[in-house]
Every structure is written in C-alpha cells, then in structure tokens.
C-alpha cells in the first residue's frame, strides 16, 4: 500500500548531558581512594563522609575543582569569579546523605562550545558534583533485593550540559567523540563508557517550525555514542508519528534498549522532582581568581585537532593520525622516529596502527634499522624492474585499457603484481614511477 501520509518536515532538536568521572586519586569530598571499578571488594573505600554517617562533613578536592576549570577553559567556557556547592535532595538507597552535593546557581564553568563539521554545539554550563553509590538488583534467599556498594559514593563527577544544538545523529557522534578526545587529552578522565566513567543522556524533541518545542523527552541508559545516535533516530520516528496525528509527545524519561534500538517509557512522575536546592552550609564559597585560572591554564595541552594536523603535515594518513594522537606512547614513538630519520615517519605510523610493529617492544632505532636493511635488499635497479613490468602490462591488456580509460586504481593493481612477482623486494615507489612512464 502506498501511504500518501506526507509528514511535515520536523527539525530534530537534541541536547546532551554528559557525566564524566574524574580520575583524581581520592574522592570529591573525602580522602577515600577513587577506584570503584577495580576495587577487589565492595565497601572498602568508605568513610564517615561518603557513607553519610552522622557528623560526616565534606571537604572539596582541589584537584577536582582545577580539572573542571581546566575543561571549561578547553571548551571555551566563561569561568565566573565565584562558585559554590548546593545540596540537591532526593531519597534513593544509593544516595547516603539523602542529598547530592552538586552545583546549581554558581557552577565553575558557564557557556562554552564544541565545534563539529556539522556546526557548533554550545554548552550551557559545566558543573562539579559527587557520584552516587552503585546499586544492583539480585535475589537473595528467594527475595528480590538491591545490593549497594559505596566505593563509588562521592567520587568526583563533572556534568557537561549542552544547549539543544545537536541536529543530527552524525553530529552527535562527532560531538561526543570530540568531547571525549579533549577530556582524554587533558588527562583528567579515561572517559571509558564500559567502566562508567562517561555516561550519556539525551534530551530530544522535534520542532515543526524551528522554534523550541513545548516538550522534551529525556533518554537514559545510552551506553555508547552509536546508541546515542540511534536513540535520536528512533525518537525522531516516534515523535514524528505522534506529531503527525496532531498530538504532542509526552514529556517523560525513557530508557534506550540496545537490543531493539528503541526506547521504552520509564515511570512517569506525576510531579516533577522538587530537589529543594540550597547552598551547602558545610562548604565555604570558592573565589576563583584570575591568577588561579591562569595557573590552571598552563596545563592546557595542544588540543587533539591541532595535533592531528601536525601529524598529517608529516605525511601521515588522517585515519592513522587520529589513532596516534590518543596514545601518548605512539606519539612519543613518532617524535623519536622523526628525530632519527624523518623519511620513516609515515611507515612507522602505518606499521604501528596496523600492529605490524610492537612499539612497546621495538625501539625506534631498531625499527629504522630493520627498514633500512629491508630497503637494502630492495630492487631499485630500473633495468631489472623494467622487463618485469613490461611483461605484466603485456599479460593484462584489459587492465591497461581500464587505466587508459581513466581508472587510476588500476595502477595499484599493477604495483601489487610487481611486488608479487618480486616476492615483495621491488621498491614500490620506483615501480610505480616506471609503470606510470610505460603506461603513458
């Protein structure tokens, strides 16, 4: 049946909330070790503060504050001169104090943006808060229970909130990758979604007229960038159908289902949660002086995008460059090869990325030596190569015809054939040059 349901063109409006666990040594408000993912046992990194015992008091981690400001600087945020922490109240067994220490009115970073090839995604703000404990469901003695591990309670958590500027799933993926790359380059978090050190939430709505819609749907349980993009796609379809019927999608929280690639409604709260925010009296305000910000700014490294550019300028293929910039071991290797003999930089990059050389084992000097001995065995004598090439061209008239008709890829076929017939010993560059001369 040919449906002639013509849906109005809708604009996809999406914002993201990204939670990032900082990799400080200790927790946000106490000296307990920050290592929930690798802890050998539950509840071994707790104290009166993060366990919410009576009389426990929070003292903020300076490193976490500086890491947050550092990210704000990297993402072009404004760093206000005064910040403070607020208490956010709700009851849940994974929240030991019955409130989370977070920031509402005076966060460390305001505004900001991240550019993508699809356009700029503005940030609303970045704030610092504490993580909740980890809870999982189980059956014990036949009863359904929840088991709680407070190792993660009060770990430092940054929250990055964007404006609803994300307009396509592709943009979302690029945006999220950029954010993750920048955070990793700053060395403040591993941003490992499997370990839970990076968590995503989407706010999605559709607009028929470009204006901000009167509803938004929050989507949780998104465990990868791909799922984020999928969530946008599936919600686009779901909202379109509802809007086409003249209705408005319900403002609610939904959970993403990886198995079906769709979202399902989680309980709709009749009343929006009232968090009863107020400034935490236990924590004096933080005056963020311009001198302090300048000190923190000294930690800003060269950002991934400009690092990638400099590698490409050395002749390295962009896809390889993108992998190398995220790996400081590989970056060092390239630097050393460049110092020893720049002409081997490209092969070093290719071989590392293709795992043909173990850069952790083979030193740059040894690597270059092996290449030089290989090239010493290489056939560079054109008088030797020419007859081999002539025979290959004679044996493959159709491919020659393809090349002459404009198929540049055919050259690759011929180079491959030369390499095969010389058991890999031919100098590929020289073979290529000869081929071109003979073909033209």
């Amino acid at each position: 049946m040919n449906s002639n349901l013509q849906s109005t063109t809708y604009n996809l409006i999406c914002g993201a909330e990204i939670h990032v666990e900082l990799k400080t040594k200790s927790k946000m408000f106490c000296g307990c070790k920050n290592d929930p993912f690798h802890a050998p046992e539950p509840n071994i990194y707790t104290c009166p503060v993060c366990l919410g015992l009576p009389g426990g008091l929070p003292v903020p981690n300076k490193q976490a504050i500086e890491d947050t400001i550092l990210l704000g600087l990297a993402l072009h945020c404004e760093i206000p001169g005064l910040a403070h922490f607020d208490r956010k109240h709700y009851f849940y067994p994974d929240l030991p104090k019955g409130y989370q220490i977070s920031q509402k009115d005076e966060p460390f970073c305001m505004g900001g943006y991240v550019d993508t090839s699809f356009g700029r995604v503005r940030l609303n703000h970045i704030h610092l808060e504490e993580d909740a404990a980890k809870m999982h469901h189980a059956t014990v003695d036949g009863k359904k229970v929840s088991l709680i591990d407070y190792n993660r309670s009060s770990v430092a958590l940054m929250e990055i909130v964007t404006e609803p500027d994300i307009r396509s799933p592709e943009q979302a993926k690029e945006f999220l990758k950029n954010v993750r790359d920048i955070i990793r380059s700053l060395g403040i978090s591993d941003c490992d979604m499997e370990k839970g050190s990076m968590r995503l939430e989407a706010n999605i709505s559709l607009s028929p007229d470009g204006k901000l819609p009167p509803y938004k749907v929050e989507v949780k349980n998104i465990n990868s960038f791909r799922y984020f993009a999928n969530a946008m796609t599936t919600e686009f379809t779901r909202h379109s159908e509802i809007l086409d019927r003249g209705e408005t999608p319900v403002q609610e929280t939904r959970g993403y289902r990886a198995d079906t690639g769709t979202t399902v409604s989680q309980r709709i709260k009749e009343d929006a949660a009232d968090y009863r925010y107020f400034p935490d009296p236990d924590i004096p305000s933080i005056v963020v002086s311009r001198e302090w910000v300048a000190e923190i700014a000294k930690r800003l490294p060269e950002l991934p995008s400009s690092k990638i550019d400099s590698l490409v300028a050395l002749g390295i293929v962009e896809s390889a460059a993108k992998i190398i910039v995220n790996n400081s071991g590989m970056m060092d290797y390239i630097e050393q090869v460049k110092t020893l003999n720049p002409k081997y930089v490209q092969s070093a990059a290719k071989d590392m990325v293709n795992k043909k050389v173990d850069y952790l084992v083979v030193t740059p000097e040894a690597y270059i030596k092996s290449l030089e001995s290989k090239s010493a065995a290489k056939i560079t004598d054109e008088s030797v190569l020419k007859p081999i090439i002539e025979k290959i061209l004679a044996d493959n008239p159709t491919v020659v015809a393809d090349y002459k008709a404009g198929k540049q890829n055919a050259l690759g076929f011929f180079v491959g054939a030369v390499m095969k017939s010389t058991a890999g010993k031919a100098d590929a560059a020289i073979a290529g040059k000869l081929l071109k001369d003979l073909l033209n």
Binding site: P48, H89, F91, Y99
Partner: protein, 469 residues
C-alpha cells in the same frame, strides 16, 4: 575525705597531680553520684562504667610518671549524646539511633581523649537537639537538680544537669541557638558557646550546619577556659573551622576589666519576662560596673525578627540534615522519628521547596545578613553585650509539650547572636524563688577571651559557687 565528685576540673587537676587521690577514686566518686541521682535526674542515656574505669586506670598509670602535659588527664567528663564516640552507643536521644555504635570518634571526642579525659557517659538531650527543654528526648526528660518537677532546659539539658548535680567534673554540649547557654541558665552552671567555627563539628550529629557550635558546660569559668582550650581549633575534616590560633584561654584569663564597654540592649530586657529576672541581671551589670566596666545603652533589632529567622533557617537545615537517616546503613528507618522531628522536617522542607524558597529561605538568609550587620554596628560601640539568658527560670515538666514554637520563644534572647555566629557565656547570678537565674555575655567573633575575662571577674566577686541544688 570530701566527696570528690564536688571538685572542679582545676581542683581535680591539682589533687591528681599531687597524688592526693587517684583517677579511679575520682571516677568512682562520680559513678556513685550518678548511680545515686540518676533515678531522679535521668541526665544520662548511656553510662560507660567499664570504659570509664578502664580509662581511669590507664590515666593513673600515666599520672604515676614524672610529668604530663594533658590538662584533663584522669578527669571524668560527659558528652551530650550527639557527639559520636567510637564503639560507644550514640543516639542523639532518638529511637532512630537507639542501637547505633559509631565507627569513629568526633574530633571533639578525639581531642578530649588526647587530653586524657575519662569519658564517663553520654548525656540526655532533646532528640536531635530539637528543643529547649530536654523533654522531647525519645527516652524521657531529664529533671532539673534544683527542682526535679522542673525541666533542665535544652537541648544540652542532660549535660547541664550532670554538672549542676556533680555527677561529672566537666561536660561538653552543643549549641545551635541557646542549647548550651539556656540549660546552663536553668541549672545554674557555666555554659559557653564558642564562635561558630572555633570548635569542629566533625562527628557531631548535625542540626543546622551554619549554626552548630560545640561548647563546654562547667562549674567555674576557669574550668570552661580549660575545656575550651582542649576542644577548640582548626580541623582538616571540617571546612567551616577557623585557622585562627587557639589562645591559652586559662593562662590569659584575667579579671581586670580595663574600662570594658558593656552594652545593655533594652530589647533584651523584656516587659513580659518573669518578674525579678531583669532586676537581678541589671544588678549583675552594676556589679561589673563597680569592677571597672562601662555600661552603655544600645539599641538592637527587635527579637521577633530573629525568632522568625531562626525558625526558618534552623528547620530548613534540620530537614536537610535528617535526610541521611533512612535505615539503610545504620539506625532504624524514618518511621522512628518523634513528633517534634517530623514537625521540623516538614516545615524546613516547605521553606526550601520550589515556589516557596524565595519567600522563606532566601529571605531568611537576607534577614540574617541584616541581623549580623546590626551586631557589627553594636560591636563598634561596645566590647560585650549583657542580657538575661532566658526570660524565665526553669519551667515545669510538660511545659514544652505541643508548643510548636517553645524552643524559639525560650531562646529569643539568644537566637540573634547565634545567627550572627557570635560567642557567648551563661553565668549564674543567683536564685529566684529557689531556681537559678543566669546572665549572658555576648562577644564578637573570636573574642572568647574577652567573654571569659568578664565572666571570670564577675564570678570572682560573688559567692554563687556556694549555692548548690
């Protein structure tokens, strides 16, 4: 042999160091006093007899060595039951924490142990410190040693009664607004509230986090100076403590008043105070004048503003600080809260709730700024403020029940200075119809020495110490 439980901290220190008696003997005397009087007074939630005797024996071993530098070595003290004591039951006088055995010591407790104190027990209080009577304790009220049909005041009522009745040599309570000074007034003892941030709150069950101030209750001003010196100081676990060095309060104690200017606010000499109180306190002021002080009349914001302000701020803080009691990690669940706690949690939550935050909590914090500025102005004119501590002497048991504003009205002469974070002391001035009357001296931030000095000068000039229940 004199009844050792009647000694002051200073007398105990001298006697122990001179080997006139042992810590075991001193502790036993206090335990005997406790056993004898507790059926009437109920000043304790938990008596730590075994632990105390153990500590006393260790203290005696240390005392046998040539010298020590611990001001409280071997001396029995009690703590209000909102100070967490490791492995020793701590309840805040609430059924919610009926069998709670803390995993750590409060900083104040750590310091007391380091000073050699023998911790003899945990005192009864208004549950969660919600009150000015000790009547809202989930375990029954404490009775006033001067008249057991009457209340001791609160919320540190158990600590005040224990000092007054010579059940202990020293005690530590806590004040949010009045909870040390007012029971001290009703029980006729010294009650000292340090500046907010002078003493660590780490390990004290929180009531209102920007007001709570642990402070000593004692038999003399010198004793208060000794206790304060032992517990004051910066704490890395409490971000609101001050880094200002702790003076040697005892060493610097002096009674020459050097033309000290003492402000008398007429707003604190209430028209409807119990008859006799204003006159007695005014006579005490004149006594200080004879000793060299200059009395100055000052004006102050009407106490009705501090009553309303304190009501909102304290209850908002309470509603937040009691959120952690959910029965998951310790204690009983929230159905164990008493009626007073429920009332305060609900009002506090309302004042913070969306739609009402601006009208109530935000405005309350602005009014608080006005109150602080008012005190700043007054302290530009005077060194100390003097007033009655409470508008009445001890009220009968039952007086506080179902009075939703009982606490706030009892403490109306104290709330303003507490909201501003100031320091103050209650000094007994005499008896009115057989019940103690107290005057308070209020000092500016970190002027504890000035307050102690004036109180000391006054105390030395009268015979009140001879009056006992």
């Amino acid at each position: 042999m004199t009844d050792l439980s009647k000694l002051t901290i200073e007398e105990s220190r001298k006697g122990l160091d001179a080997k006139e008696f042992s810590s075991v003997e001193l502790t036993t005397a206090c335990l005997d006093s406790i056993k004898k009087q507790e059926p009437t007074l109920h000043a304790f939630v938990t008596v730590l007899e075994d632990d105390a005797m153990g500590s006393a024996k260790l203290a005696d071993k240390e005392l046998a060595q040539t010298s020590h530098d611990k001001p409280l070595l071997g001396i029995p003290v009690s703590l209000k039951d909102n100070f967490l004591t490791k492995d020793q039951r701590t309840t805040a006088s609430s059924k919610v924490l009926d069998s709670y055995q803390p995993q750590f010591d409060a900083t104040v407790v750590k310091k007391l142990r380091q000073s050699g104190a023998v911790i003899i027990g945990k005192n009864n209080m208004d549950a969660w410190a919600h009150g000015s009577s000790t009547e809202t304790s989930d375990f029954g009220p404490t009775h006033n040693p001067w008249d057991p049909s009457r209340l001791p005041g609160g919320s540190s009522g158990g600590s005040a009664a224990a000092i007054s009745a010579n059940e202990v040599i020293g005690a530590v309570g806590s004040e949010t607004a009045g909870s040390v000074r007012q029971p001290a007034s009703w029980c006729g003892v010294i009650g000292f509230k340090p500046t907010y941030g002078r003493v660590s709150r780490y390990g004290v069950v929180a009531m209102e986090s920007s007001l709570d101030s642990p402070g000593p209750l004692s038999k003399t001003v010198r004793d208060a100076a000794i206790m304060l010196g032992a517990i004051a100081g910066h704490d890395e676990f409490d971000a609101t403590t001050s880094s200002i060095a702790v003076p040697n309060y005892l060493h610097d104690l002096q009674s020459n008043l050097h033309n000290l200017r003492i402000g008398l606010p007429k707003e604190y000499f209430l028209k409807d105070a119990q008859a006799g109180i204003n006159e007695m306190v005014m006579n005490s002021a004149k006594q200080l004048e004879k000793l060299g002080a200059k009395l100055v009349e000052v004006n102050m914001m009407d106490p009705k503003y501090s009553i309303a302000d304190y009501t909102i701020i304290q209850r908002a803080g309470v509603s937040s600080n009691l959120s952690r009691f959910d029965g998951v990690r310790y204690g009983n669940d929230r159905s164990s809260f008493g009626p007073e706690a429920k009332r305060r949690i609900m009002l506090g939550s309302y004042a913070l709730s969306s739609g009402y935050y601006d009208a109530y909590y935000k405005r309350a914090q602005q009014v608080r700024m006005l109150l602080k500025r008012d005190f700043d102005r007054i302290f530009g004119q005077v060194d100390l403020i003097l007033a009655p501590t409470a508008p009445s002497t001890a009220l009968p048991i039952g007086a506080s029940l179902n009075q939703s504003m009982f606490g706030e009205l009892s403490d109306l002469l104290i709330e303003g200075s507490s909201l501003a974070g100031l320091t103050g002391i209650n000094v007994p001035v005499g008896l009115l119809a057989g019940l103690p009357v107290g005057m308070q001296l209020i000092g500016n931030h970190f002027e504890e020495q000035k307050v102690l000095n004036a109180a000391y000068a006054y105390e030395q000039s009268i015979d009140w110490k001879e009056i006992k229940p």
